[in-house]
């Protein structure tokens, strides 16, 4: 659990650095679009567990901020197609790479012997988690 605290701290810190530019729900939208590719609004709303009307307005703000691109979907003009702008990509990337750096900074302080055993154990842990229904393990896409 203390390791989990550390990791959560890293994530929180990485988000805090961009909180001036985007709120947490907004960032979640960006991450979802970044990870799942061009999406429509309903998908975003459902994935985040909010009312579609809220998703609309959150996307509004991201479009205004120049982080998200909203256009009509080619196949069905009722839907919209959401993609990250270059700025949006950079923002998401900056958060992710900072997380990596922070974790690596910690790993670098571990004694070499244990450091080598860590990846295998963690990979195994992640695999084990993959075998559990997503409802039980949580919203994995939450903010990463």
């Amino acid at each position: 659990m203390s390791a989990a605290r550390v990791l959560v701290g890293v994530v929180a810190q990485s988000i805090a650095k961009v909180e001036d530019r985007v709120s947490l729900p907004q960032f979640r939208v960006l991450v979802m679009v970044a990870t799942k590719g061009p999406s429509n609004l309903s998908a975003v709303a459902e994935s985040l567990g909010v009312h579609p009307s809220n998703a609309t307005r959150t996307v509004d703000r991201l479009v205004t901020a120049g982080l998200l691109d909203r256009r009509d979907a080619p196949t069905d003009r009722r839907q919209v197609s959401l993609t990250l702008t270059e700025q949006g990509k950079q923002l998401v990337d900056s958060v992710f790479s900072e997380r990596r750096a922070a974790v690596q900074q910690v790993v670098a302080k571990m004694p070499r012997s244990k450091r080598q055993k860590l990846p295998a154990a963690l990979e195994c842990f992640a695999e084990a988690a993959g075998e559990i229904p997503e409802d039980d393990i949580g919203h994995l896409e939450w903010n990463n």
Copy 2:
């Protein structure tokens, strides 16, 4: 990083379950009081990085919700003493124990051989993090 995603997902899920009752900033206040014992308002505000006036109102809501107890500090009547009510304790405990359960559920799925190596590696990881200035590693008390 995938292991980190899993752990963060667990934390996010555990918080999502109480988000109907308390907001994220509110929960952070509860956790801070739970971990650092009776506190005054300034400490809470500074620890959360918000303006003291906001801390006042956040605490207001928690008191109204019956999760927090606010009374004059015995030593200095300018200050207040914040403690968790029984309800508040239960809420924090429920989140923490759910996290533990979720992690253990994952660990239980790991093969026995690797399972034994995990705790040592993670403990070492956490220790390594402890050696890094808090500004670099993040606000560890964030929500845990």
